[in-house]
Symmetry: C2
Subunit: 204 residues, 2 copies
């Protein structure tokens, strides 16, 4: 009868402030989701604990995980692998807890294919909303500058396409509030709640 948790994926263009928003969310005492611990092949730093900060793996172990489809997503940065072990995510969701991932857009695409029912939140730079004013004040800017901005905005728009929600990171506190509101709302979605009642009524 245990209702499954939600997989919450926060992503967005690099430099948008995903890490800052994630840290703020987890610093709030009323946050009830579990942070997904990543696996990595990089060496543990002083004080880092296996299973808390990261699951530390050898290159061989990590590549075995890739082959055995044990990673929800992974990527290689500066010679080290980083990835999300599917087992931890699955167990936490099965235990009825919400799992929170903060990952790059490439990784989010991989997760979407494996977990289409996840909750995908695109963290958008505040510049996207400022862009309107900037574009509107034409004449004061060179045409090339405007074109460059339009192109960047179009690319961000295309990335958005995969996501369920767009949260503007105008202020970290507001962005956190929106992310948490989205999770509360998703838990109230009729499809989720109704299923619970239906199951309950089938008992008899």
């Amino acid at each position: 009868m245990q209702e499954k948790g939600l997989l919450i994926v926060l992503s967005g263009p690099s430099g948008v402030g995903k890490g800052t928003v994630r840290k703020e969310i987890f610093s709030q005492p009323d946050t009830a989701f579990e942070y997904s611990v990543s696996a990595t092949t990089r060496k543990p730093r002083e004080g880092e604990v296996d299973g808390v900060d990261y699951f530390f793996k050898t290159r061989e172990q990590f590549e075995e995980m890739i082959e055995n489809d044990q990673l929800l997503e992974y990527a290689e940065y500066v010679g080290n692998y980083y990835g999300t072990p599917v087992e931890y995510v699955q167990q936490t969701l099965d235990a009825g807890k919400d799992v929170f991932l903060e990952i790059e857009v490439q990784g989010a695409g991989q997760v979407r294919r494996k977990f289409p029912e996840g909750l995908f939140i695109f963290l958008a730079p505040p510049s996207l909303s400022e862009l309107e004013n900037r574009i509107v004040t034409r004449g004061t800017e060179t045409e090339d500058l405007i074109k460059g901005r339009m192109k960047a905005a179009r690319e961000e728009l295309e990335m958005m396409e995969l996501y369920d929600y767009v949260v503007e990171n105008d202020k970290v506190e507001l962005a956190c509030e929106r992310v948490k509101a989205i999770v509360v709302a998703e838990h109230c979605r009729r499809e989720r709640v109704q299923y619970r009642y239906k199951k309950m009524l089938e008992v008899d």
Copy 2:
């Protein structure tokens, strides 16, 4: 460029506490939605102001509104008509403000047909979630009692079908928080936000 407001419809079985939740929501200073003023044929009471508490109408005026399709929903109670004028709702939405309706389930069905894009929230009695435990403790209750409860729960479940969200009214404050979180989340839905950016980018 003005983004349209959301039509928020709070409904649910009678006696579930819709009015209490609505009052609590509007007593909170950070609530940013407009309450839709109903039209009625009942006489104004001492202190009631036309256009604030109700739009007071004669029976003839009200029936003309029905004929001219000027009501989003209406019903007759104890010899008087009550209804939601579509004009006020439409103007407020067009001005980019969210409009909040608290209406009976019959009315909500009428609104759904005219405003399928509205946000329909079903306020559920806490008994629905308690029901599980109650049903499980079989043997201590007569079969008829259990059947009666199952039937009531099934009927409520069928009413839910039309709604986007289900909010359990376990505690008024929590129910309000959920309703407001749903509105925040809906404003972050990609379809809504993306449209804004797309429109913006079409300018050039």
